[in-house]
């Protein structure tokens, strides 16, 4: 199998000053230089950080590689170098085949130009040849479903239409290698959904994909292999399930309690601000590790800042260390049937004992309302808290007396009936 992407000790150094204020004014720079001259000071001292340090990777053709890590670990820098948007400070990389990135979807779209004109412009920007675009033009237009608006300026398109058109062009680029930065691909839900869909399509047709994401579940599911980046270096390389599990265990440091003392910077918006999340046991005590047989509560403190328009309710989402969603749960009680009035609230979701499997559980909390087809999130936090589910092995849990590996997201203690016939 041939290698699609090979990097050798790829490194990228930034000066810290550069990251903070990338550009300035000539006036300030000249003034600073003059000041240094007068004061006989030395040149400004920059602190340097390696956003990427000696990353050597080989991605075989057809592999789907996930890149995970905390913010600032160098994931996006790696992708920016591979897409040649920025240059490495040292090291080298070789890429075999045409590269596409979902980052560039819709890049160069000009609102004043018509749909037709934008297809050609965008195609060229993505590196397609004139005749290639010409040859696929009808397909692209059909795929996007904008036939009757071809000669309308894109500024009059609905956002859904322009996203469809942008994806149609990107979909016909047919890259051999797709680089996806899900972290950077900010856009509406429709856009994100299409990004993932496009990735799955391409991976099924045997393309090489590098996928940067914060969604552990997506990485574990879509990728064959994953690497963990920490402070610019690859610290773990292996099967995506293993790397994701390891990573989640590591960031299990989110702990069993979380507070946002400052209302203004707490997660949320003008309606809701999250104040605290805690993992508690029946007696109200915080717990980092809970007995699989005992109920565990997720206590969510939040502030409603003004009278709401629609009913809201708290929601929890539990994710296991492989990234599987154990479940979502919302409070459907009559408490939340009316639009809320301002005040501080403390809601606790009680998860019964003998439901979850053992392992690290990451909890996402949200305060939501119902939208037309999905939840509207007013304030929440992914991986807000986490806790370990443990089985003391006393024989009265769903495990019985078995002590080996037990698969599954949940491990309920069921009631069995057996009759001898």
């Amino acid at each position: 199998m041939s290698v699609a992407i090979a990097t050798e000790e790829l490194s990228k150094r930034y000066r810290i000053g550069e990251l903070q204020s990338a550009y300035g004014t000539l006036r300030d720079s000249l003034a600073a230089a003059a000041k240094r001259l007068v004061q006989r000071d030395h040149a400004p001292h920059y602190e340097e950080i390696w956003a990427l340090k000696d990353v050597s990777l080989e991605v075989p053709e057809g592999q789907v590689l996930g890149v995970i890590g905390r913010n600032g670990a160098g994931k996006s820098t790696l992708l920016k170098i591979l897409t040649r948007i920025t240059t490495p400070t040292s090291g080298r990389a070789e890429i075999r085949g045409r590269v596409g990135s979902l980052l560039e979807v819709g890049t160069g779209f000009h609102p004043e130009l018509t749909g037709r004109e934008n297809v050609f412009l965008n195609g060229s920007v993505l590196g397609m040849k004139q005749r290639e675009i010409q040859g696929r033009f009808d397909e692209i237009v059909e795929f996007a479903g904008v036939e009757q608006f071809l000669d309308t300026p894109v500024k009059r398109y609905s956002s859904g239409m322009s996203v469809r058109l942008a994806f149609a062009v990107a979909a016909h680029l047919e890259p051999e290698i797709l680089l996806v930065d899900e972290v950077l691909a900010v856009g509406d839900a429709e856009f994100q959904r299409r990004c993932l869909g496009r990735m799955e399509d391409l991976s099924q047709s045997g393309r090489t994909i590098v996928f940067v994401s914060h969604q552990m579940q997506a990485v574990a599911q879509l990728c064959d292999r994953a690497v963990l980046l920490e402070k610019g270096s690859v610290t773990l390389d292996g099967s995506s399930a293993d790397v994701v599990a390891h990573y989640l265990q590591k960031v299990g440091g989110s702990g069993s309690t979380r507070f946002w003392p400052d209302l203004e910077t707490a997660p949320g918006g003008d309606l809701i601000r999250l104040r605290s999340v805690r993992v508690v046991e029946e007696d109200g005590e915080e717990a980092a590790a809970v007995d699989v047989r005992r109920p565990v509560g997720i206590e969510i403190g939040f502030t409603v800042r003004r009278f709401g328009e629609v009913p809201i309710f708290p929601k929890v989402k539990l994710v296991d260390q492989r990234g599987n969603v154990a479940f979502n749960a919302i409070d459907t009680s009559s408490r939340w049937q009316e639009p809320p009035h301002p005040g501080d609230y403390m809601a606790t979701a009680w998860i019964p004992g003998n439901l979850l499997n053992e392992g690290l559980i990451s909890v996402q909390v949200d305060v939501c309302s119902f939208g037309a087809t999905k939840f509207v999130h007013h304030g929440g936090c992914a991986d807000a808290v986490s806790f370990h589910v443990q089985d003391p092995g006393e024989g009265d849990s769903a495990r019985g007396r078995f002590t080996g590996q037990w698969k599954g997201v949940v491990r309920p203690l069921l009631e069995w009936t057996t009759e001898e016939r």
């Binding site: 090291g91 590269v99 130009l113 920007v125 290639e132 696929r136 047919e174």
Partner: protein, 298 residues
């Protein structure tokens, strides 16, 4: 048997003749390396991206002629109105020399290349910042942006030239045989504009106050380019100094051929050509040197 055949076909679809297959499938190897210490112009790469350059130029022209309600008229009105004002002030009131031509013809034939140069520098200097979305998201040789910026105003130049033809008819001014050299002088303007714009566009990425200085610079530059007063009216030593400004040669040379003004001196023209080459090399060097940081700074 049929089953196997089916399976094989599924794995390798027959090439559809209607649909151009991606070429260079295996040969396309991209090598990513740190930026070279000594910047150079990668002509082969530029050639590879020629279609994108065409698209960028076409986009700017299309948008420009769609956005501005007066569209084409603007390209003509700008030099025309300037010519009228200059003629009234410098021609009639000031009684400035005009190479033995009607001041209108002298002024307009100088303004034509000048406006090409000025709008090129303006457009191209802002080209990186105004295309931030492209620079931060897709790779292509960044030089395409200023290159497109100095190409687009050629259209305005051609449109505005029609008025010059009209003026020449009206004032019975004939071109000279040197008109065949006019494109060469325009090329000199192109190279100068590109050099200056490469420098300023790279600077603009780093320093956001540079764009404010550019109109002022261009305004001052115009007065030492022979647009208002012929360079031949300056003292001899000043003429040699002004030859360092390539636009003096551009305007003198353009007027020589197109409106039959006196021939420019060879020595001074050569100095201008040398200066233009220097502008270009310095601009290119600074641009290429700053290029690796564009996406991080912009």
């Amino acid at each position: 048997m049929t089953d196997t055949e089916l399976e094989v076909r599924e794995r390798a679809p027959a090439p559809d003749p209607e649909r151009p297959q991606p070429t260079e499938r295996v040969e396309r190897v991209t090598v990513i390396k740190p930026a070279p210490r000594w910047p150079h112009l990668d002509v082969r790469e530029l050639w590879h991206y020629r279609e994108l350059l065409g698209r960028l130029v076409w986009r700017d022209i299309a948008v420009r002629y769609k956005q501005t309600s007066i569209g084409v008229a603007w390209a003509v009105l700008q030099p025309l109105l300037t010519m009228v004002v200059f003629t009234l002030i410098f021609g009639y009131v000031g009684g400035f020399a005009s190479k033995g031509l009607q001041y209108q013809v002298f002024s307009y034939s100088a303004l034509l290349p000048w406006f090409y140069f000025a709008s090129s520098v303006n457009l191209a200097s802002n080209s990186l910042v105004s295309n931030r979305g492209l620079v931060t998201k897709v790779y292509f040789p960044r030089i395409l942006l200023p290159l497109a910026g100095v190409t687009v105003p050629i259209v305005d130049f051609l449109v505005a030239s029609v008025v010059l033809v009209g003026l020449m008819f009206w004032y019975s001014t004939a071109p000279s045989a040197a008109i065949i050299l006019a494109p060469a002088f325009l090329l000199l303007a192109f190279v100068t504009a590109l050099g200056v714009a490469l420098f300023f566009s790279a600077m603009t990425v780093r320093y956001r106050d540079v764009p404010y200085a550019i109109p002022f610079l261009l305004q001052s530059w115009m007065f030492v380019s022979g647009v208002v007063l012929p360079i031949s009216e300056f003292p001899e030593y000043a003429q040699w100094l002004l030859a360092l400004n390539p636009m003096t040669a551009v305007i003198n040379g353009f007027q020589w051929g197109v409106v039959g003004a006196g021939a420019p001196e060879l020595g001074k023209t050569l100095i201008s050509v040398g200066a233009a080459a220097l502008f270009f090399v310095v601009g290119l060097w600074y641009f290429r040197r700053s290029e690796p940081k564009f996406a991080d700074t912009i």
